[in-house]
């Protein structure tokens, strides 16, 4: 009997060990290690080699796009699909600059407030209609019509004269500065000179819709149907919800010679590990940012193999201080906490995606000089000085226990634990970690129920104002309760300026901001992804968008 029992025990042991081993050996992938050691953007180089016969590109977009209506879309997944099938007046080119797309030319008035767009004669909709100025007017005014809900991104159109008044204050849509001069001429008047307006016209909220088809048909964007009419380099062939989107090349696109890809399969696989395995087994040509993140745990190994592509992303990861809560109502205390963070350590050993340590608000991809930043990273001595000064001002001997909040996520947790340790070591302060589910977290942040909280910001368009205006007034995305009159008036002033003058004023504002330190910036984001060697010229922008227009596959 006892012999039998031992035997059973052994059997269980062997079997479970076997399972364990099978699970563990998943770490060292034998495949895909031939990639060489160039870790930076090999898809940027325009590739050599002959075009592959089969131009089918497979990518994972992670989830169902919440909306494929350009007017109601407000998230990156929808954006990734829309950017391929629609086209605005401008398109961001391979150098990251706006270039003429639906518009063949644009004239800007001397006061930089009136833009006159000429639309291409050969710009067509996928049902054969020509693209007209009316299509743009219709699309934009549809978004600005207060009767149309779900237009979360209406504020993207607010630089246009009268837009905000029409959407929010009941002013007439006829007073909005959008005028159709003739079928092919669109005149747009702006509230103020907006140096990034051309960038905006490449954004999906600014995409046209075919008003002949769409008018009176609210359901047109629900499915791939005859009513789903597009004007971009690709057309929407099919849309199996939550499963797969198929795009085909649009043969009547004005620049269709440039477009090489014939078919694009966009799968919706949520799990990051599965997505990576699909890539390894050849079911995907691309995995990772911006459409679906790589699993955190896989990054070190992928980096070692040298296959990881990394590019800058215009975004900042930061800790917001609640400037109304003691002790963070004291500027020296805030500076002490900011200086006591070892950012280099965080990006090197935790996030590991070659992020830039952030000692400023605006990412270096917008302002090159911010690579340096406004203060020194990992400066415990300075931090102790600030701490002492702050404690003296507050009349305290020792800091009370503080709490650091973040939304539940393994990456945020790892960073928060590291920062907790740095603060304890450098400032001798007890730090309590507090994590909450995303919606709950936003609620607590919004109601000021935090001391230090994690936040992030990704730019919508490539301009510093995007970051600076968050903190112009309390509320909205500014959770810090920090306000500064001078700062706000500098931002207002910048809106009437252009060129270097404008930049100077904005830099001045950033200086004020960093002197007051209502947030402790941690790092500037990057895109990290893998792509097969035969994939060329797919454009990843600093704003986290993907452009397949110029992409192609070569023979392996």
């Amino acid at each position: 009997m006892s012999f039998k029992k031992k035997w059973v025990f052994l059997l269980v042991l062997v079997l479970s060990l076997g399972l364990l081993l099978a699970a563990c050996s998943g770490g060292d992938n034998e495949e895909s290690s031939e990639g060489g050691d160039s870790s930076e953007g090999n898809s940027e180089e325009s590739g050599e080699g002959t075009l592959a016969a089969d131009q089918t590109f497979d990518i994972n977009i992670k989830t169902e796009p919440p909306s494929l209506h350009p007017g109601t879309a407000s998230d990156s997944t929808s954006g990734i699909v829309l950017d391929q099938i629609f086209e605005g007046l401008m398109r961001i080119n391979q150098d990251g600059m706006p270039e003429e797309a639906m518009a063949e030319s644009v004239e800007i008035s001397d006061d930089k407030k009136t833009y006159t767009f000429k639309i291409r004669e050969d710009a067509n909709w996928s049902n054969g209609d020509p693209v007209t100025a009316q299509d743009f007017e219709y699309a934009w005014k549809w978004v600005l019509n207060p009767d149309n809900a779900d237009t979360d991104y209406a504020y993207q159109l607010y630089p246009i004269k009268g837009a905000q008044e029409a959407k929010e204050e009941g002013a007439s849509l006829d007073d909005v500065g959008i005028t159709v001069e003739d079928d092919k001429t669109l005149v747009v008047e702006l509230e103020q000179p907006t140096p990034y307006f051309l960038d905006l016209t490449a954004f999906y909220t600014y995409y046209p819709v075919n008003h002949n088809v769409v008018d009176g048909n609210d359901e047109w964007a629900q499915d791939a149907s005859d009513n789903y009419v597009t004007n971009g380099p690709f057309t929407l062939e099919s849309w199996a919800h939550k499963d797969q989107i198929v795009l085909n090349k649009f043969s009547d696109y004005w620049d269709s010679e440039t477009v090489k890809l014939e078919t694009v399969n966009m799968y919706m696989v949520d799990d990051a590990n599965t997505s990576l395995e699909m890539y390894n087994s050849g079911e995907l040509d691309w995995v990772g940012d911006p459409s679906s993140p790589l699993p955190l745990a896989s990054i070190p190994a992928l980096k070692q193999e040298g296959n990881l592509n990394i590019s800058d992303l215009a975004g900042v990861y930061y800790y917001a201080f609640n400037t109304e809560e003691s002790p963070f109502d004291n500027v020296n205390i805030r500076k002490a906490f900011a200086s006591a963070i070892n950012r280099q350590g965080i990006v090197e050993s935790i996030t590991q995606r070659q992020e830039q340590p952030a000692m400023a608000l605006v990412p270096p991809s917008i302002w090159e000089e911010n690579k340096e930043g406004y203060f020194k990273d990992n400066d415990p001595e300075k931090a102790k000085e600030y701490l002492q000064a702050g404690l003296d001002e507050l009349g305290l001997d020792k800091l009370p226990k503080i709490s650091l909040s973040y939304n539940t996520d393994e990456g945020h947790a790892a960073i928060a634990q590291a920062v907790q340790d740095m603060w304890r070591e450098n400032l001798g302060v007890e730090v309590e970690l507090n994590n909450e589910e995303w919606n709950v977290y936003l609620d607590s942040m919004g109601s000021g129920n935090f001391q230090v909280g994690r936040m992030g910001w990704l730019a919508d368009f490539n301009d510093a104002i995007n970051f600076l205006e968050i903190f112009q007034s309390v509320g909205g995305n500014n959770y810090t309760n920090w306000e500064n009159e001078e700062y706000a008036s500098l931002l207002e002033e910048s809106r009437t300026l252009t060129g270097d003058e404008r930049k100077e004023v904005l830099r001045e504002a950033e200086q004020i901001f960093m002197d007051d330190m209502p947030i402790a910036p941690v790092y500037f984001y990057t895109n990290t992804w893998l792509n097969k060697d035969y994939v060329k010229n797919i454009e990843i922008s600093g704003l986290g968008s993907v452009q397949l227009k110029w992409g192609y596959l070569v023979e392996e």
Partner: protein, 310 residues
Amino acid sequence: MAKYLLKRLAYIIVSLFFIITITFFLMQAAPGGPFASEKKLTPALEEQMNEAYGLNDPLYEQYFNYLVNAFTFDFGPSFKYVGQDVIEIITRSFPYSLILGIESILIALSIGVLLGVIAAVKHNKFGDYTAMVIAVLGISVPSFIMATVLQYIFAIKLGALPVARFESFAHTILPAIALATTPLAFIARLMRSSMLDVLNSDYIKTAKSKGLGQRVVTYKHGLRNAILPVVSYLGPLVVSILTGSFIIESIFGIPGLGSEFVVSVTNRDYTVIMGTTVFFSVLLLVSILLVDLLYGLVDPRIKVAGKGGK
């Protein structure tokens, strides 16, 4: 019988009412709303959205609308997926979960019962131990680990089956097995113990002493009685497999209802939460009723109408 059915239906409606009410108030109590996002809307825009989705109405009115909607199965559009009807979402995702569920229930039932019977017949012999080792492993290895291991061995190492997604029969094999392991193991253990009980009971001895063969005794007289606990486990099993497939669906990238159910809560997608909850509740209540009816068929000693109408 009709009276019994009517009574059960009334119970179902009352339970549904409680489920809906509790869900509604929990949903309202949860912090955060469907329009919360990293990039905040301007206050005026948020107001317009709340107005359009009826979130500005007084609570009792929302509750009343919600009750009416739930009982008419008209849940309205999703908050998150602009313009997509909840009914549409359910009808397009449920078939995936259903196929996956049926496959794994079949696997769990057939193999589970088989293992249980083998273990009982070969009590304390090699067959018993093998079956029980499999059962213990099946219960202790969580389904998501099982899923990854299967994926690794069969899809990545052997390349025999696809890694993920749900397009052909080959795609369904791995997720169905992964989902089936835990219930399979449970059924095997359940089956073994009840089979042992039955095999030691008097009427089996009688059957044997009448000179019936071992095979007939086991399968004709033993199995039918021993399977009762498994039948009663079927009701909860069906529902737990259909709702609990979230993790498997997400690992294998299957666009099923299980993931919709879970994700809607994190999105605070009120209409989808309501739709999926009501849908799954009806499913649970009906399957329990069916199991009770099935009971009567398998075991003539139990009269379903017995308690109600004397």
